[in-house]
Amino acid sequence: MEKIIEIEELTKIYPNGRGIEDVSLEICQGEIFGFLGPKGAGKTTAMKIMTGLIKPDRGAVRLFGYDIIDQYEAAMAGVGVLIEVAESYPYLSAHDNLQQFARYYPRVDEQRIEEVLAITGMARYQHEKPKKFSLGMKQRLGLAAAILSRPKLLILDEPFNGLDVQGMIDVRNLVKRLAQEEGTTCFISSHLIHDVELICTRIGVIYNGKILNIASTENILKDYASLENYFVNEVERNGRV
């Protein structure tokens, strides 16, 4: 199967000593990969490097075979991103925010903007400005922006942030549908183990900046009652809960 994400010995250490060290991963087309770890484990750092927001100390990231540093535009052409809290331009309406992003993709037209607004439940707020939005609404708009270009790869960092129960269910269903119907590859980080268990086909556990283990959800659930038990066990084996 085609490799969508290739990460080789990725290392980034901040001045405070935290960060990630020697993270290596390969994710194939159609997978929903769950990046699981407690807050501060290095999930966001890895995802920021994957999307070019920060540069690694060493190591490489290739998306669709393109290097994220040297071939940025080609690497990001088929990627939808949501990193941490979804921000948007507060003085533009939700619709105008999406229109700004849509211009970068030749196949995204007005109809697609309307479509993603409907999918994320933001259609009725499209003429309102995000400065008045709740965290959940901002997150929905961020998701709309991420899926706008019909990306072949979705990188979502804590996509359930600020969402209510219905919102979480909607996002889970959306991700599953995109993977099944459109073959979208998803890379999702979350500290919400239950949600990761429900949607991800493969799980990577990161702790203290290092990948502890990578396994398919199916295999994990053969050996453990839940993903939470697996996670606790993996972390315990490496020295702490």
């Binding site: 920060i54 940025y72 003085y91 533009l92 700004q100």
Partner: protein
Amino acid sequence: MAVFKIALINELEKLYKKKKALAAIVFSLAVIILGQLAIWGVRAGFGIRGAGGGEFPLLILSVVIKTVLPLFVALAAIDSFSGEFSRNIIRVTLTRPVSRFKIFSAKVVAAAIFILLNLLSIFFLSILISLFFNYKSLTVTGVASTFWAYMVSLLPLLVLVLGVILLAHLLKSGLAVFFAAVLLFLASELLALILPQYAGLFITSHLGWYKLWLAHTFPLAAVLRKLLLMLGSGVMLFVGSFYLFERKEF
């Protein structure tokens, strides 16, 4: 080029939809009207001759070039950089298939267009007011040279904006950038007065270079010297700011 064009359209749309940009132009225009009313008042009340119809647009330029124009273009630049750096709003643009160089260049070009529009609107309104109050002293050659004086003022203002953009990469908050820019502007003006032999090195001293273009005998050497100094400063400020923008972590 197509991607750069999109980035530029986006920057211009953001500038247009921000109320601050519109307010800047409206305020600049208000300064002209107030200026003309003041001249009219002085003339009518004290019998003192103010600027004639042909001189009025240049009088306005001499005032706004060192006051409202630098202020508003600096605010627009601060909004475009520091404003988007704060709360990491810029991430939503950076994670699109567009390089940082194109985003940075689009922001600088949008700032240049904003300056140009500001200069054009001030020029046209001041000419309009001159026509209304004292059309007899207006001549075609006078209007043409005044128009040119306004247009060449774009360059020093752009260099000034590049300086503000560099500050936006060195300081964290937009407010700090604003105050640092104002202090540096005043310091530069003061130093140019104290050390006139080194005045050419200070960015603000170039703001009045439009006067060189109005001289009866064209001072080619002086124009070239100023032009090269501004281009040199501009290139250095552009490269320095972009270097920091490229390395910035969001």
